[in-house]
Amino acid sequence: MKKKSYILIYAAAAFIIFLSIGTLLIPDVVFSPDENRYLTEKPDFTVKRVLDGTFERKYEEYLSDQIIGRNRWVEAKSLTEAALGINDINGVYLCTGGRAVERITENDFDWSNYEKNLQRIEDFTEICTEQEINVHIMPVPTGAYVYREFLPDNAIMFDEGKAFSQAADAFGSNMIDIRNSLMAGKHGGDVFFKTDHHWTGRGARLAAAEFIGTAVNKAAAEKVRSCDTEIISSEFKGTLYSKVLLKTLGTDIIETSAYARKADMKVEIEGEEYDSLYFDENLNKKDKYAVYFGGNYGLVKIRATAGEKERKESEKLLIVKDSFANSMVPFLLNDFPEITMVDTRFYRGDISRIAEEYDRVLFVYSVNNLSEEKIVLTGSLS
């Protein structure tokens, strides 16, 4: 008879018991900040729910959501993959220099929707031009495009150059192409966060300067480019970190306009009035990018009130946007004390109506959102 130790039986049993009893004992977590979602809690057991299968589904979700050491497991997986040379994890490319960028391939990029959105904006531009309203369109490149030499070798991405030339064809001189400015600017500091898909304060400032250069003049643009900034957080871990939970990515700095930090202003968000565009309580939370306006809302009106009386009549600016504009607006306030932001993902009214009251309209959209969202500008959705 072969002698055996049966250690494996004990080890496997201990592991299973650790998982099942451990998960049972630890208190349920309600909210996962890294995933920005509520986790499933213990489902109610009723015969009806068992028979229609909801209990079983919820119970499986509950176990996976509440399993003991959940984030450790995810981290272990990411570490293993990274160690094996797999650089695309959960839709994120791990780049050199501890940088993560969103992975968007041809399969992900919806060209036909992108072209439809370009058409919608073009139609909108025509209406505005008839009413002598200036329109500018600023497509925001992806971090992967700006930092493409940091991507893993042979990384597959959608053809972003083509997306930009399509936009240039559609909008002509109305387009503000910020690619060169960002790519040149990245050598003096991060223009995109290492752990988030958004641009940094520096990236937003360079983009703002490009716009001011077109809409106001070169001198004003230069002032924006060299304006004073203030660091409001140096421990930001963004959405891309959340997708991989890799500590090697480090932390990011959130930097914004020193002027906007101090200036007196009135900010009206969905009818509520505030005296700052910064919601500093978010700096203590996971999603620190929400320090700007507390997140995204359909309609936001900003008015810098300092020196309002002495100021000569200035242009009113309407920004039609996604979240990228949130961190850019602080750098525009000096030249445009009155700005209204409309987020097409939340606003359900006719934006061409609003535009009638403004001198200038600026579109700020990441190229990626132009392929994903349906940007409705005229008429209401509902």
Binding site: S5, Y6, I16, E60, I67, N90, N154, D322
Partner: protein, 473 residues
């Protein structure tokens, strides 16, 4: 329920094992009740209504088995035969109704423009497997190979036994009859079972699930180079093997923990030197089922060559259809039928004269192309993909190929090694060397296997980790 789920590993298995082993060994009947109850819960988890179909299937085959057995006992074969036919047709009717109704109606619609509405019948999980099990039982009773089972609990336990219930192997009643009636718990068998389960779990989670995205991404691209097309097809080839054989390993392992020894279902199919050999190594319980219950009853090779070739083709059309109600599976079956006929007629003779390498290359090329037909459910798309494998895009290689080859190199190497008996051989040598120092051997093995277990768990849990895509906002 599936094995690679949290509820299975963290609730079902601990509770079932506890309930099972709390019952003393001598009360096998009570243990069977525990297994039957657990298996029904396992089966009905998420879709409790299917338990009714299962219960019907058990009672139907149990009664048919009793009647057929009674007639056979008094040597009344001609009276047993109509009952057998009735029973087999009944089983096929259940399977046909749930699996093929939509397919048949859709085909009729395409041919005649009749515009019939599809009822959209959902396929109860595992029905293809357990229907084949129950049919083998009644046929074996009719053939007097086994005695009809009088105890419905034992019979029900056989049909529903959760380890092999939803993805095989197709266990024949004759193979487990003795264990159903009496079985002992032997620690070395339990340990063996855990080992098999962990290996299967690792194959499924660490290899199959990880290589799958390579196929998914490459096959959904518009136009890919020949190298990419082969890489994608190879990824699917690995995925289906590690997924399916991993599941069989888990089933065999779980069976052992409860005291059942199942027959092997896979025997390193990708090292075959011919397609004939491949089908002796791939999903063996299915091939042998078709051989035993279709091919031989049709006359096998006993009625002349033309009849034999026809039999092969019939078996392979049915094998294809068994895999799914779709024309690409039929095409896949015919593809293998034709190749097997060609091998029988001449290829095998040619291969015998060639060095073994030729047979390996020939087989793997046929197998990989076969999986493309299997994986792409639109036949013209499959042909387009195979075209790309042979350079229809005009490019030999592209960046997608370089990227996936480079970033997945260790995964690909692991898959390639895992498809051969190499690891088993190395483990065999190590355990021989350490035979005297069995505690050290136990520790080494446990560390290795538990590492696989823990990493698999990490990959499984991460599958549920879904950051809400709020960053679009």
């Amino acid at each position: 329920m599936v094995f690679s789920s949290s509820v299975f590993l963290m609730t079902f298995i601990p509770v079932t094992l506890l309930a099972y082993f709390i019952v003393p060994e001598r009360f096998v009947k009570v243990r069977n009740v525990v297994l039957l109850t657990a298996s029904l819960i396992f089966y009905g988890w998420g879709e409790p209504k299917y338990i009714l179909i299962m219960l019907f299937s058990i009672v139907f085959n149990y009664v048919c088995g009793l009647i057929i057995g009674k007639e056979i006992n008094i040597n009344n074969k001609h009276r047993a035969k109509p009952m057998l036919i009735f029973c087999v047709l009944g089983n096929l009717a259940i399977l046909g109704f749930f699996k093929y109704t939509d397919f048949v109606l859709e085909t009729v619609n395409q041919l005649t423009a009749a515009g019939l509405t599809l009822p959209g019948i959902a396929l109860p999980i595992g029905i293809s497997f357990y229907t084949f099990q129950t049919m083998s039982y009644v046929i074996d009773v009719y053939r007097n190979k086994v005695k009809a089972q009088k105890n419905i609990i034992i019979f029900g336990t056989y049909v529903t036994l959760f380890p092999q219930l939803i993805a095989g192997p197709i266990v024949r009643y004759s193979d487990v009859e003795a264990m159903l009636i009496d079985r002992k718990t032997r620690p070395e068998q339990v340990e063996d079972g855990i080992r098999r389960f962990i290996i299967g779990f690792g194959k499924k989670v660490l290899l199959a699930n990880q290589i799958y995205p390579v196929w998914m991404e490459l096959s959904s691209m518009e136009n890919i180079s020949a190298a990419s097309a082969w890489l994608g097809a190879a990824a699917f080839t690995f995925q289906i093997y590690f997924d399916f054989s991993g599941y069989s390993d888990m089933a065999i392992g779980l069976g052992k923990i409860f005291g059942f020894d199942y027959l092997e279902n896979f025997n390193y199919p990708y090292i075959s030197r011919s397609i004939t050999e491949f089908w002796r190594r791939w999903h063996m319980s299915l091939s042998s089922w078709f051989k035993e219950y279709v091919y031989i009853p049709l006359g096998g090779n006993k009625k002349g060559l033309p009849r034999q070739l026809a039999n092969i083709l019939i078996v392979w059309i049915l094998t294809g259809l068994w895999h799914g109600a779709s024309w690409n599976f039929v095409a896949w079956g015919i593809y293998y039928g034709i190749i097997l006929i060609a091998e029988k007629l001449c290829i095998l003779k040619v291969l015998k004269k060639c060095p073994p390498g030729v047979g390996h290359v020939y087989s793997i090329v046929i197998i990989v192309i076969g999986w493309v037909i299997f994986a792409v459910d639109d036949l013209s798309e499959a042909i387009r993909y195979i075209g790309m494998m042979f350079g229809s895009s005009g490019n030999l290689t592209d960046t997608a190929f370089s990227y996936f080859l480079e970033s997945r190199i260790w995964l690909i190497i692991a898959c390639a090694i895992g498809s051969t008996p190499l690891v088993r051989k190395v483990c065999g040598i190590i355990s021989k060397r350490l035979r005297e120092r069995y505690i050290l051997l136990g520790v080494v093995e446990t560390v290795f296997l538990m590492a696989i277990f823990v990493f698999s768990m990490a990959f499984l849990v991460s599958g549920s980790y879904n950051p809400f895509l709020y960053f679009r906002f």
